[in-house]
């Protein structure tokens, strides 16, 4: 599954790197709202599900080689976040779903967590 498909599945809006999203393969997923936790425990090519929308999420996604970021509860990324994500070619999806609902849907489609890094 790639990030473009995830956007469709979650009825979400692809906010950045639309041209890249189709080639970002999702190998796993991680839910967390603490950046230090994501830095410690996520895996490369994980999809990150979070409610954080500030610019630092892009740095973390880039650092860990995540396939993309799903921002939940209909929260929109801050302007700086969008700009940085475009520059770094990191796809960000905004969904109206909650983190629980988004994770549940993806889990039901076979995406799995891969434990702590």
């Amino acid at each position: 599954m790639n990030v473009l498909e995830v956007a469709r599945i979650l009825s979400g809006k692809l906010m950045t790197a639309a041209d890249n999203a189709g080639s970002c393969e999702v190998r796993g997923a991680y839910c967390s709202d603490l950046l230090s936790d994501v830095m410690a425990n996520s895996n490369e090519s994980d999809l990150w599900i979070t409610l954080q929308r500030h610019v630092n999420i892009v740095a973390v996604a880039h650092l860990k080689g995540l396939s993309g970021v799903v921002i939940v509860n209909g929260r929109e990324p801050e302007a700086e976040t969008t700009a940085r994500a475009e520059a770094e070619r990191i796809p960000i999806i905004v969904t109206a779903l909650s983190a629980f609902e988004a994770a549940g849907i993806l889990y039901g489609l076979g995406i799995r967590g891969r434990g702590s890094a």
Binding site: M39, N56, A59
Partner: protein, 407 residues
Amino acid sequence: MHPAGLVTAAVAAGLDAVAVCDHNSAENAGAVLRAARATGLTVIPGMEITSAEEVHILGLMPSLEAALELQSSVYRALPGRNDERAFGLQVIANEHAEVVGFNQRLLAGATTLTVEEVVAAIHRTNGLAVASHVDREGFGIIGQLGMIPPNLQLDALEVSPRTPLPEARARFLGEREFPLISASDAHEPKDVGRAVTYMRLEQASLPELRQALLGISGRMILGGGKTMEDLALHILDIVQNSVEAGSTVIEISIAEDPATDTLVIEVSDNGRGMDAESAARAVDPFFTTRATRRVGLGLALLGEAARAAGGELKLESRSGAGTRVSATFRHSHIDRAPLGDIETTIMVLMASHPDLLVRFRHSLGTLWYEIDTHELRAAGIDLWSPDGLGALRKAIRKGEADLQGAS
């Protein structure tokens, strides 16, 4: 930015004091202190500590030794190594802009200390614990925790340049009345001094700041804001002209009229005035007779601000007959600078010159309020005293609340 660069920027911005607060580290503080020795700038060593909940808390320390002791506690609780690809080189520099090393710890990470443990660690080393940028969602205490924990012994809340103080007071002062400070959160030289806090102190030092936050022994926080933007601080700068011209009476008026979409600011004084030639040059940014100007370009900047908002600046003055400055703006213009904190303007003015007779009027449509220091004195309020300044502050807050409440 490097230590000497920070000092240069702070001096150029006219600051009396600057606190250097790197993330989770104080290894550059010594160099900043040394770089500032030849100047009149006070440097407060400190750190911005990331709690386990990813709340940023500032530790403002009384000495370099205390800062380094706090640093030891932080380092013991800070896991991880830096990734230079993601977070860049963490340079340790000296006061000659030379690189002396690189910090290998993950300074961008979070400590394992809870917010209570961070505050306790700061207090154990005799520092002041200030919640960083409480108005920001990311890494702000309210953003991360949903609230300020009821018994957390914070010494102050810091507000970022994004939020004017009047709005911050309405949002963040509730059951617990924390002192609010406004700061630049500068990460590069150009941002140093873009937002400041004004205080009434004997001298710029941490023990004085501690007293000001507690409002004891006559020390006070007077206000703050964005120095080059807020109209309230432009007014403060213009009023300094009046003071230096020997004025004893100054009238300040701010008239906001949504019906005609205008904002008019007027400052009139009974100072020595200017002849026609000086008046013409007064709006030139390169002309000043002031020896004490440190912040802002006064009339030139105010003129720019007015024109940017579809308005203009008028200056009337005659030698020996005072001066009147009038700046008009289109109120709703997208480029109209924010008004900022008018309380700061009046408090800083009166704390600096308690003898002045100042008449201040702020109107919004048909509503208005006035502060007249002559009337305050007649009512027994002594503006030389902290109590008197406190009474002045209450009067301004009530006036502003009446204006805003009814709008």
